[in-house]
Amino acid sequence: MLTCKDFLHELSDYLDESIDTEARAKLEQHIAECPNCWVIADTTRKTIRIYKGMDPYPIPSDVEARLMKALEKKMAAKHR
């Protein structure tokens, strides 16, 4: 019988789908019977999904301009 602690230990691999079918079945049986672990798994999955959906903020134009200028200077020096 899987304990909540065992479940938590495997949670990342479970959410990343990097465990074998047998281990997955055991974890799924545990969350079917343990509402707390179900909530933790569900909210952790949502946490990851929300962060993955975050678009990079557009790079500020002044930052980009300075980057491009620095790089062009470097390239010009190399090809001189």
Binding site: L8, D42, T44, T47, I48, V63, L67, L71, K74, M75
Partner: protein, 211 residues
Amino acid sequence: MNTTTMAVPSQTGIDEGTLVAQAREGDAGAFGELVRRYEGKIFRLAQHVTQNREDAEDVLQETFMKAYEHLDQFHGDSKFYTWIVRIAVNQALMKLRRRKTDKSVSLDETIDTGEDTILREVAAWDEDPEQRFSREELGQILDSAIQSLEPPYRSVFVLRDIEELSTEETAEALDLSVPAVKSRLLRARLQLREKLTRFFKRKGDDAFAYM
């Protein structure tokens, strides 16, 4: 031909391998396109790791400068993006270590493995709880939750779950073992889950509704 101009807008459809090969032969336009593809992600990563806008801008510049200088050392056995992420992470960690007054930045400190993570708040969320917030509010909530993580957890989370590197790539970039990446990632995810629960829990639920 002017090889030092980076403004060649017609290269957006070209695959990365071709661009890298062209850049290695001195094609500044090709290198410029590589920069444009990844500058936003590298700047975000640098901001997350350093937590400081000025340092992040330095890291951004240093990363692409180094990439340009050492382009002949990139052999294409990993993705170009993974290669520059590694450079960026090293630069960002150096910035952190230089801030010696901040004792919390050591990446070598003994840390908990995540197994004893305290789960204080266990409350269900709505299906798409982020919809309740504007894009701007959501960005602030997510950023401040990340900022509250200790650097060893933060770096792993940023690389794995924001930049979407594999466990192995993250281990390589941070010079950690795979088990260390896994245990830090679990800990980071659980801490963030807990912090976000404050904002995202289903209305009307309390912490003990499921206990």
